[in-house]
Amino acid sequence: MRDLYQRLALSPNATPQALQSAIEACQHNALKQDADAVLMLPERRDAYDSVHATVSDIGRLRSRLGLTHAAHWQGSVANDFSLPPDNAISRHDELVDRVSHAVTLYNRWRRFRGTWLFIATFGIGACAGLAAGVALCMRLWAA
């Protein structure tokens, strides 16, 4: 399976008009015929697009997992859908990083909870006492 969009230098969501003009300008006769048969009828284009989306996903997965030269990935599919490796790091490593980060935060919270609770209680009590004192003063002044 070839990537007709790539070979016509178009994006997969190109408009029918853009497709038409690209197909007319195409120099390669076999490609022109195939693209005309596959992409110019809406229902065929839909079918092609769904397979195209899946295969591009697989191509991206393979490039991220280092499987672009595997035994089951050969011929025109491998030629057209193998993407250059992007710099997305391994999802599993990222997950492990995030979990360990969360664990560190949680542990820190647990460790300092007593101290923080004491400080918070003291602060809240001081604020309440201050407020009560101010209110009392105001009332005495008014009387």
Partner: protein, 325 residues
Amino acid sequence: MSIARFSPFELVLLQSRSQVDTATLLLLAWVLVNRQPITDGQRRRRLAQVTAQFRHGHELGSVMDIAQSQDLQAIQLASEVLRKECTQERSLSIMHQAIALATDDGTLSLANHYILRFLADLLGVTPETLSTLFKELTGEALKGPEDISTEAYWRRHDPQYYERKAQEAAEKEQAQARAEEAERQQQAQRQEREQEKQRRRQEREEKARAKRERAQQEKAHRRQQKQQDSQQRHRDDQRHQHHEQRYKQYKQRPHAPPDRTSRALAVLGLTQGANRSDIRRAYRRMAQLHHPDRFFSESEQQVALASARFQRIKNAYDYLMQTYR
């Protein structure tokens, strides 16, 4: 340090009792999603049936939803987990389950062709093992995926469209042939009409010419009669001479010359009443004008044309010299 929240699949994976089972579940759900004619309920029941002895310990619904949305990052994570923690036997059994799910309805969809091969590469299953496994499970050899990007694929899968198209083309051709036939008939009629018109014009011209000649003859006759009247007064002995003169006049009277003579005269640029010396002079002038040697410096075609003209002039002159007097 990332501040993004945990994605739904990451949460499911963290809560799972067995990460490998959860990852397998997602990949099998992905295979099922790409199997076309099937409802959500059927999909869930089938998945539950296949994964009955899995130990993940969470609901299938959330994983089904993630697979339905074709979340590439979740699938990548699942693949990584699977690759990291899968044993040889386990990978064969996963392949087994994936093939069973993909070929439930007897056919393998195009997307699943690629997904199965991806799983095989991921799990380190060689092509021979995969095809053997496939043959054992379905009773058919694993063929390569059909190429949907070619016209040939659609000729096989959508023959009605091409039949319709061929029929339309044939009809169009017939209509064109009919139109051509009609046009040819019209043209023939037009030609006939034109010929008719030309014939009529010729007839008219001939009539007019005949009339003119008759008028001329009458004129000449009248003049002669006048002469006769005037000569009536002359002596009788002149009568013989008069007869002779009349006879001469009669002979000199221009009766309609043959067509070829007038044409030959026209070629030399002369009119009816020219005498032999006129003809000779005209021939000399025309020959000087149209002699092919004059066009020697020009193209070959010019020379050929000139020689054709010269030939015509010479023929006309020869003819006139023989017959004209």
